[in-house]
Symmetry: C2
Subunit: 196 residues, 2 copies
Amino acid sequence: MSVKNALLALLEQGPMYGYQLRAEFERRTGATWPLNVGQVYTTLTRLERDGLVVAAGADEGGHVHYALTEAGHEEARSWFTTPVSRSQPPRDELAIKLALAVTVSGVDVAAVIQQQRVATMGALQDYTRLKRTAPDQQDVGDLAWSLVLDSLVFAAEAEIRWLDHTEARVRRAALARPAGTPQPAPASRPAKQVRR
Amino acid sequence: MSVKNALLALLEQGPMYGYQLRAEFERRTGATWPLNVGQVYTTLTRLERDGLVVAAGADEGGHVHYALTEAGHEEARSWFTTPVSRSQPPRDELAIKLALAVTVSGVDVAAVIQQQRVATMGALQDYTRLKRTAPDQQDVGDLAWSLVLDSLVFAAEAEIRWLDHTEARVRRAALARPAGTPQPAPASRPAKQVRR
DNA sequence: CGACACATGTAACACGTTACATGATTTG
DNA sequence: CAAATCATGTAACGTGTTACATGTGTCG
């Protein structure tokens, strides 16, 4: 979905061809989310099938340019004017992992947290190093890339805060319910239906 | 991928059947990430194909229980002991949207930011309301669900901070490069290859 | 010339979602 | 009894990844 919308957004600037679309996407978002060229072509095919873009035959250089249709413009515009829904967020692997770690016996939750903290802080350092590298916004592409970097930094910081917070909560819960306290049964079944 | 690993993790608790796996997953993560039952069955089939689980025929109640194989245990263990890689984070739709919004002319960046802020703050309110609802951890399932909620809260707060930060940066950039300043060309092409 | 970047595709596969079919069991 | 829930599946589709095939242009 992200890729589809991103291509439409880029085409708002004017017709472009596949390879160029990837280059422009990566110029604006950096190496953060590499975009496979193959996917650009398949996505363009699907967008054409859905009537959101049209292929204008070969240009000067033999490149197959794609342009937005009226429906495509509409779609791009509506993507920008509709907020990303936070009521059905994408599955967060780390949150799932820790939620299961605290409920499955025999998992060293503290170790899981600690190791993730190390990994995330490492990533954070990489980000700040990258920030120093690309000095300042000569063009809009650099501004975009820099904003993406910031978003990664904010997310990583929040993740670390959550890890700290979780560690404290788990420690507290462990005190209140020490090891050996009867758990709800290793393979609890839905309460309603009693069988036989 | 998340689902696959989650099922393996749950099966560490002991053999379970499909419907039960979904129930246990949702008990621990809440309504945040609803898990389609169908996917549980298809995923179990794939896990069996890959030798990570085995189906133990019908039990007392006629339910098809699945159990971890040795390889399955190994896989689950390694999931918990390997940090989530932050070097290739999942694509963040909001970050992509804003990165493109600032580079595509004719998009009201301030409006995009403002509308997202409203949506995210709304979600944040829902989360805090939910927190009040489920009082405190009688069992481990509630603890897990509560941790997941916290993670959503931390992420939403970080998102809002990032939006504020981005708004400020964009405003600053707009001052430095007022409207009308020549942009790098509507459809810039990769620099290297000059044609004809 | 040979390596590499540019450029366009295709095939196979993994994962996820939606929707449907089917039947047993429980509960008002 | 009727409706809801429990329970197991399957089919079709959308999206994304990897890998390969194929050819052109550029540069050392």
